[in-house]
């Protein structure tokens, strides 16, 4: 009888503990998901930023206006003899 009562109380406590652990882990999981979402956002934004900075129109403008570059249109193209 006594053993039964003790084991009932004991198992009840274990249930409480497990439940608590479960909640803690769920909380952690949620936080990790949020972190994942944040990193995903950052990754997308970085990709966009890279694409914007590397946009050919922008590169061309900088090359022509700032760096004064032109196509090698008037140079002589020499074919290497095999």
């Amino acid at each position: 009888m006594v053993a039964l009562v003790i084991s009932v109380v004991g198992s009840a406590l274990v249930v409480v503990k497990t439940k608590h652990e479960n909640r803690t882990l769920v909380h952690e999981l949620e936080q990790l998901r949020a972190e994942n979402a944040r990193l995903e956002t950052e990754w997308a934004q970085l990709q966009l930023e890279e694409a914007t900075l590397a946009h050919h129109g922008r590169v061309e403008q900088i090359a022509r206006e700032k760096l004064r570059m032109t196509e090698p249109r008037d140079t002589r193209i020499v074919r290497a003899q095999p």
């Binding site: 909640r23 769920v26 999981l29 997308a44 694409a51 914007t52 050919h56 008037d74 074919r79």
Partner: protein, 577 residues
């Protein structure tokens, strides 16, 4: 227990009237009975109802949106990307109960004074109203930090198009709910979209997830798709096209650049264009991808195909002479006319001077069936099926309907229509030593094996003949690419309406391939209704072709096959320090 009480009584405890004990016992029994009955009712009778009610309050099924796949070019440069954003939604009644939050909210969300209140009041009885959609995450977090009651955020994905208008027509766009509306976004919607998942969670009063109840279905992210476009060429093509269309005050224009061997579409640009990042730009005027959805009569650009058929059938040889004097001739009601009469000439001159009379004579000598089957072998009347939606297949009537007049006009490209891709494909067959490739816009799709249109010998002969177009007094000298041999053909197509042909509305076309000896690239340039006096294909479309191809051969590092450049430039005109 009763025994023990008896024992107490026996021990001389104060005597209590029996009825009082009975009353107390009865009251207790009734109380216990009520409690038990209630417990029974709650636990057994109403159990299902109550569980459901409880779950309704705490259990939530959260949809997990699937990440829409990116669209990239052939080298992995992004053309369309999804980035997470937050959409704010509100329960109007709850927020109206806490009016002290309204001014701060209005300020953050850029509502005018009083506007937010009116907005909420009008939707008072709704339970879900979007306050703002697609806010950037930082702004949404500032709003949520106010902790205004009844305001929530929902994660969504917004589509960004880093290449903007450059690839706008090909890529298309999605609507605000992320479904493809136009272009490849619409054509490939299913694989891009993926599948949204769901998970059941238990939430506490403040909305935090405290437990997951296990029945979750993970979201399946959409696939990333690679197009065959080369963004570098696409950019150059778009830039040159835009300059030309503006410069000639034209109604529009298009460029297609093709890899002659694989049939991959490397660039496909249109004017007028639109920026897919700006929803207000999306009016119907600029949305059409003319290269696929519009038909036009090929005009003079069909002549190389006719010549190919003439050579294939052995009725003509490259040095055959055709008498086109006096520059016009009559077939029934039709007068075929050359703008610049050329007299008796060989096939190369027929092409390089673009003689209608010469073409009509060849066509009539071959007969309707031979002309028809020649075009048919080059894929006329057969859809390109590049994977782009909304293709128009063109008008290509059976040859039984062709009389003398129809045969003659078909010989110089009228009375039948094609879309730009069909025409480029036909030229790709000439470029590809007679094998008609199947065009692709989506990488990784199994390529359909090419079909033979003409023999290797004939394809090479026609290319040789077409080289004369871009040299000497050919109609397409302005399409020449320094250092390379270019085979091509000009076209100046009169536009037609229900009643007949316009005198003053033209489509200026140039189609060519480079390097002519062993072509790698086929390009088509079409400028629609140039209104600045010039309208010949060689004058209007030719220079655009030349500039695009100069950049393209440099980008792709194709070996020059022409005469070495003699054009001065002792010192390179690079940047000086």
């Amino acid at each position: 227990m009763i025994e023990s009480r008896d024992h107490d009584r026996a021990a001389g405890a104060r005597e209590v009237a029996a009825w009082r004990r009975l009353v107390v016992m009865a009251v207790l029994a009734v109380g216990a009975g009520i409690v038990l009955a209630r417990a029974f009712e709650l636990q057994v009778v109403q159990r299902d109802f109550l569980t459901a009610e409880g779950n309704k309050r705490a259990l939530r099924t959260v949809t997990v949106p699937a990440h829409r796949g990116a669209i990239r070019d052939r080298y992995g440069e992004p053309l369309a990307l999804s980035a997470p954003v937050e959409s704010l939604w509100v329960i109007p009644a709850e927020l109206l109960k806490a009016p002290e939050y309204l001014p701060a909210l209005s300020k953050l969300l850029e509502f005018g004074p009083g506007e937010l209140r009116r907005f909420l009041s009008a939707r008072r009885d709704k339970h879900f109203v979007y306050l703002r959609r697609h806010l950037n995450p930082a702004a949404a977090h500032r709003v949520l930090a106010l902790k205004a009651p009844g305001v929530f955020a929902q994660r969504e994905y917004r589509r960004y198009y880093p290449a903007g208008e450059v690839a706008g027509h090909v890529v298309g766009f999605t609507n605000i709910d992320g479904r493809g509306q136009e272009g490849m976004e619409a054509a490939l919607d299913a694989p891009l979209a993926g599948k949204a998942g769901a998970r059941g969670v238990v939430r506490d009063r403040s909305g935090r997830v405290v437990e997951e109840n296990g029945d979750s279905e993970p979201a399946v992210a959409g696939r990333d798709l690679a197009l065959t476009l080369d963004l570098r060429l696409q950019y150059i093509a778009y830039r040159e096209l835009k300059v030309a269309v503006t410069g000639h005050r034209a109604r529009g224009g298009l460029i297609v650049v093709l890899d002659a061997r694989s049939g991959d579409i490397l660039a496909m640009a249109n004017q007028p264009g639109y920026n897919p990042n700006r929803p207000e730009d999306r009016d119907s005027r600029g949305l059409r991808n003319r290269a696929v959805t519009d038909l036009f009569e090929p005009g003079s650009t069909i002549k190389p195909l006719l010549v190919a058929q003439a050579l294939e059938l052995g009725k003509y040889r490259p040095d055959s002479v055709i008498d086109t004097a006096p520059g016009f001739f009559k077939i029934g009601a039709l007068t075929v006319r050359d703008t610049h009469p050329v007299g008796a000439v060989n096939l190369a001159r027929v092409l390089s001077r673009s003689s209608n009379v010469g073409a009509a004579r060849i066509g009539l000598a071959l007969g309707p069936e031979a002309v028809w089957s020649g075009y048919q072998k080059f894929g006329f009347g057969e859809p390109v099926a590049s994977g782009y939606p909304g293709e128009a297949t063109g008008v290509f009537r059976p040859h039984d309907d062709w009389g003398q007049i129809a045969t003659a006009t078909a010989s110089y490209g009228y009375g039948l229509s094609v879309n730009a891709l069909q025409l480029v494909r036909a030229y790709a067959a000439l470029a590809n030593d007679g094998l008609l490739p199947s065009l692709r816009l989506v990488g990784g799709r199994a390529a359909v094996p090419p079909q033979r249109a003409v023999s290797v010998k004939v394809a090479r002969q026609v290319r040789r003949l077409m080289e004369d177009v871009t040299i000497g007094d050919g109609t397409g000298v302005e399409a020449a690419v320094p250092g390379y041999r270019v085979a091509g053909k000009t076209g100046t197509v009169r536009k037609h309406t229900a009643g007949g042909y316009f005198e003053d509305r033209h489509q200026s076309v140039f189609i060519g391939m480079v390097p002519a000896e062993n072509p790698r690239l086929v390009g088509l340039v079409m400028i629609d209704e140039p209104r600045n006096k010039q309208y010949y294909g060689g004058q209007v479309a030719g220079p655009v072709f030349s500039r695009v191809m100069q950049s393209a051969v440099r980008q792709l590092q194709l070996a020059p096959d022409g005469t070495p450049l003699t054009t001065t430039a002792a010192a390179p005109t690079g940047p000086r320090t």
